[in-house]
Assembly symmetry: C2
Homo-oligomer: 218 residues x 2
DNA sequence: CCATCTTTTGAGAGTTACTGTCATTTGACA
DNA sequence: TGTCAAATGACAGTAACTCTCAAAAGATGG
């Protein structure tokens, strides 16, 4: 193989999945890789903040991070991945699956989401805000987001399927995951648009209340 | 101005909006433009069917349609737009808005959707199937779809906002539009995946039933 | 510490989607 | 028929990727 794996997160326990990911003993090589990845991302965000997303070229980012453009693409398959990739997807699935068995799916999602967001906010509130705002403002990113593995829809579908203990999701599962996923995305984007000043847990509650009562308010 | 407008659909009445678009007296220039547009799309679909989306270059398409690459980009802003652009968005908004005033929004959407799909199926069933299947299979397309103006989410949001007679959509409207829009997209994609053999009206009914009862089945 | 093996990196060349400009052509219209 | 605006094509450029190959650097066994 010729490329460093794109950060396959170690399967984290349900206790504090994010924290767990920050530990783990690392070889020198691994540490260097991680550092390179962080440097690239940091420099990229700096440049993007100064010049905007479209005006910042990969070559500039590579130069600022002191790596070759080739190396940039070894760490991020596309420029968009800079903003969109996320290491916490497995944690979200775990969080949903570790909810009590009989609980309605909607509630499991809500609680898992609130728990995960609380942790994310503690550790990297600012970065999350920047990323979400970019996601909302840059068309290419908003577009791409849907397809990447980190979109909520796919997470929910995986969780639903596993919870039911089946291999292939049913039609109803697909529809459910699509709807809840989109609502989740919209919720965090709205939070970011408000500058992160609102209580995100409260927003999540409002969202799920709408879903739960079948949109009867409209 | 230097470029032909990308098919701004004439505002169609609620009667039979699609049919209305197919009539209208056209000047020679307009007819030629329309023909060029159709030729490009037809040749593109042919090449894509033979070689796949990624392996088909814009230059090839332009050559096959006997226009210059410049002209290609005057008709389709991006290669993706070949597959994704859709002339019927205004018709969908109209269809929702022309439902009875007191009707629950969910039902208005359902009926509007079924009505529009029925017409689409009559006129261009095959093309619709091809497009949907491409949309589902080609990552770049699936990604891009969300951002373009033709995605259901934006349509529903517009309809909701206008129906309420306000300027800015509320938080609840955004969440509602996101959820219903995603469910709609998933529904038609599922239909296409089944090769169009299932009754799409029935699928739509199942989808909206799930939404209506608050996902209590999960 | 050294030799060797594997992973990571950089250099460079090539492809493709797209942008902008400008001169030429072609339909519209009086 | 002459004039104007819209449509087209040729061409040059940019930037995001892809591929290949050789050099550098960490891992590993002696």
């Amino acid at each position: 193989m010729n490329a460093p794996q794109s950060a396959t997160a170690p399967p984290a326990g349900p206790g504090n999945p994010i924290q767990a990911m920050l530990e783990a003993p690392l070889s020198l090589r691994e540490r260097k890789k991680l550092k390179t990845r962080q440097t690239i991302r940091r420099e990229a965000y700096r440049l993007i903040a100064e010049q905007g997303y479209e005006n910042t070229t990969v070559d500039q980012i590579a130069a600022a991070a002191e790596v070759s453009p080739s190396t940039f693409f070894r760490y991020f398959a596309t420029k968009e991945d800079l903003v969109l990739t996320d290491e916490y997807d497995p944690a979200m699935i775990d969080a949903v699956l570790s909810r009590p068995a009989g609980e309605p799916f909607l509630r499991s999602c809500r609680e898992a989401l609130i728990g995960l967001l609380r942790q994310l906010l503690e550790h990297e509130r600012e970065e999350l805000l920047v990323r979400l705002r970019l996601t909302k403002d840059v068309p290419a990113l908003r577009a791409r987001m849907i397809d990447t593995g980190n979109e909520p829809q796919r997470l929910y579908l995986t969780a639903l399927t596993r919870r039911a203990g089946v291999r292939e999701p049913t039609y109803a599962m697909r529809i459910t995951a699509a709807a809840i996923g989109a609502a989740t995305t919209e919720t965090v984007l709205q939070w970011a648009e408000g500058g992160g000043t609102e209580d995100i847990a409260e927003l999540v509650h409002r969202t799920f209340a709408i879903l739960e009562d079948g949109f009867s308010g409209s």
